[in-house]
């Protein structure tokens, strides 16, 4: 059913939802941007309509809500260990997010839940608590290319939400929410709208093979990239992690094991026990990332990994654009193919 809310009605709805759910949404953190006097747009808990930044793109993706940057897997002493799964009584979560990010979470589901015989229980537990409230995009930002990757649309949501001049239009798909929405909203015809055109068009490389390996493109990127890792940290589809065993300083006989985000761009990712590092060069690292996003993932799961959110493009201090990189890969494959 579709519903229309005044700002007040929507706030009442949020207040009641908050008694049952933790609500996460894009928020503006004033003065918290990297450089002085700039704001950070990022996910955080929200309780009121005015707090939700419907018209801004977050610098970091919502993946951190269900796949925390640091996650303690278990605590240990010399004798035993205690697993640390989220407690059952923890509230479920509502996440306000865009179509690209819902598609991104589907990529995360593939790699963390459907990759081989084991499901990642730490992810699964949090993921199972998440309900998606799809934010309608009424504009495409400079770096978005979700239309090219087909992630401009989704059917995977509980409620569709469109904010317009302080009013909120919702379409409820998930029956669990029908009652509470009908309590605060007026029935209305709401038709989900999706972005149909981005400023950037990317020709996805149909097929990438080993032939792009030796291309001079990577030398150029090697000279430009500073291996800061921002492009992977902000990506809604990057799920690489490392494991850290922490021995408490006051008592090294006990400690905890954590799962912590890692990045193929950052030093140390390919370090091996004997001191070998497989991708020491920054160009090689970018090539690995591009191949992973554009080819390898697709081979395994049948999905183009990148969802075209453009965050990596916005985040890169060296102005390395992944959409541009993909277009170049397509060109190269065309070039190579013709030979």
């Amino acid at each position: 059913m579709g519903y229309l809310f005044s700002a007040d009605a929507f706030n009442s709805l949020l207040a009641e939802l908050k008694t049952r759910y933790k609500i996460f949404a894009p928020k503006i953190y004033r003065g918290k941007g990297r450089t002085a006097g700039t704001d950070l747009v990022a996910y955080g808990e929200a309780g009121e309509l005015a707090e939700i930044a419907f018209d801004r793109k977050t610098a970091f993706s919502p993946k951190e809500i269900i796949f925390p940057v640091n996650q303690t897997m278990f605590y240990f002493t010399k004798e035993e260990f205690q697993e640390n799964l989220p407690p059952k009584e923890d509230k479920d979560m509502i996440i306000f997010l865009r179509a690209c990010d819902i598609n991104g979470i589907e990529r995360m589901d593939a790699i963390l839940l459907q990759n081989g015989p084991y499901r990642d229980v730490y992810y699964e537990k949090l993921r199972g608590k998440a309900r998606f409230f799809l934010i309608a995009c009424d504009q495409s930002w400079e770096s978005c290319f979700c239309v090219s990757t087909g992630s401009n649309r989704t059917e995977n949501y509980s409620v569709y939400v469109r904010e317009e001049n302080g009013q909120v239009f919702c379409l409820v798909k998930d029956r669990d929410f029908e009652e509470i929405f009908s309590k605060y909203g007026r029935p209305a015809d709401v038709e989900p709208r999706f972005i149909e055109e981005n400023k950037i068009r990317v020709r996805l490389p149909e097929e990438i093979d080993q032939r792009v390996f030796g291309h001079k493109l990577w030398e150029e990127y090697a000279a430009r990239c500073s291996a800061c890792g921002r492009c992977t940290v902000c990506c809604p589809t990057c799920t690489c992690f490392t494991i850290q065993d922490i021995f408490y300083r006051d008592n090294p006989d006990c400690g905890e094991r954590r799962r912590v985000w890692a990045s193929c761009l950052i030093d140390g990712f390919t370090d091996m026990a004997a001191g070998v590092s497989f991708r020491a060069g920054y160009g090689e690292r970018l090539r690995f990332r591009a191949m992973h996003k554009a080819a390898d993932f697709k081979k395994r799961f049948g999905l183009f990994m990148c969802v075209g959110c453009g965050r990596c493009d916005d985040a890169c201090p060296e102005y390395i654009s992944f959409s541009k990189c993909l277009n170049r890969l397509s060109e190269i494959m065309g070039e190579v193919g013709q030979r």
């Binding site: 002085a36 940057v69 640091n70 912590v260």
Partner: protein
């Protein structure tokens, strides 16, 4: 030719080496101005001066080659600039048609700061303008410079008072992935205040410069910007006899404290300066009274804020350019 050179100099003109010609000085607090104001500078230079403009080391304009009798015309042309750029930002100048009433304190210089520079922790021009509002027109020589961060591109270490923007880096271990980018960079490019510990980062508050480099380098936002603060360096100068770099007097001080301290420094100078000289730089006065007296007088009644630290003592060092001793 009859000229009252004292009156002309007080009106912020230099008496030049060319007989009968003066150089107009145009203040630009913080070195930042509206591009349209360049038209005014251009017109004065072309109509009254010799068609050239000099950018002074204090980021003001010097318009040379003006025949003294054209001063009234310069004043007229300059009035809209004074009205917009000085009175407009709140400087108390009741008679913009009269030109700059005095040259003191000298133009407050600044790097571009956080308006444009990635590293800038503070809006340097804004602070320079606040200082202008508070202390201009005055009667005391106090060269003030503002730098957006500890890089000190503005070279405020060569000023009587240098102000350096700081930021308190705030750490959220829950966002830290232990990449050590901040640790390596702080060691290489800042102060070595950070060390990796159990895959997380510990900051040594005593070493930290408040430069904000860690915030810039962190990919996850584990470091974020806290409150802004100021470091004050004092006693720097160039000059014939005894040039030297300023030393740190205060750090982690608040903005209001900086303004109050400058007010007290002006009073301190007037009290202790050598009145037989036309003017004297702060550093010489501190040398004479001792740092203890300086500290006591300029901190009187100032609320430095809870984070501020004050130098216990200052050893200026510097070097003496004494030809009789050093050069044979």
């Amino acid at each position: 030719m009859s000229l009252n050179t004292k009156a002309i100099a007080k009106n912020a003109y230099f008496i030049s080496k060319h007989r009968g010609r003066v150089t107009a000085r145009v203040r630009v607090p913080g070195g930042h101005l509206e591009a349209r104001h360049l038209e005014i500078i251009k017109e004065i230079a072309e109509r009254c001066g010799n068609g050239t403009v000099h950018l002074t080391a204090r980021q003001a304009f010097a318009i040379p080659g003006i025949p003294a009798e054209k001063i009234p015309e310069v004043r007229k042309l300059l009035a809209p600039y004074i009205r917009e750029a000085e009175v407009g930002m709140g400087v108390n100048l009741p008679d913009p048609e009269g030109g700059f009433p005095v040259p003191l304190p000298p133009n407050v210089l600044a790097c571009i700061g956080s308006r444009d520079c990635v590293f800038g922790n503070i809006d340097t021009a804004e602070l320079a303008q606040k200082i202008e509002r508070t202390f201009y027109p005055g009667s005391t020589l106090l060269k003030i410079g503002v730098a957006g961060c500890a890089n000190d591109c503005a070279k405020v270490h060569m000023q009587d008072v240098g102000i350096i923007g700081m930021v308190e880096p705030l750490y959220d271990p829950a966002r830290c992935i232990g990449c050590e980018a901040c640790v390596k960079n702080c060691r290489r490019a800042a102060s070595g205040a950070l060390r990796a510990e159990n895959y997380k980062v510990a900051r040594d508050d005593l070493r930290c410069l408040g430069c904000g480099e860690c915030v810039l380098k962190c990919p996850t936002g584990a470091w974020s910007r806290g409150a802004k603060y100021y470091r004050l360096v004092i006693g720097g100068r160039t000059g014939r006899k005894h040039p030297r770099a300023a030393r740190t007097f205060l750090e982690w001080a608040g903005e209001e404290a900086v303004i109050q301290v400058i007010a007290n420094i002006l009073a301190y100078i007037e009290k202790h300066r050598d009145k037989t000289l036309p003017k004297e730089h702060l550093g010489y006065i501190i040398d004479r009274t001792g740092y203890g007296v300086f500290k006591q007088e300029v901190l009187a009644g100032v609320n430095l804020g809870p984070r501020a630290k004050v130098a216990k003592y200052i050893n200026f060092g510097g070097y003496a350019y004494d030809k009789g001793v050093q050069l044979t």
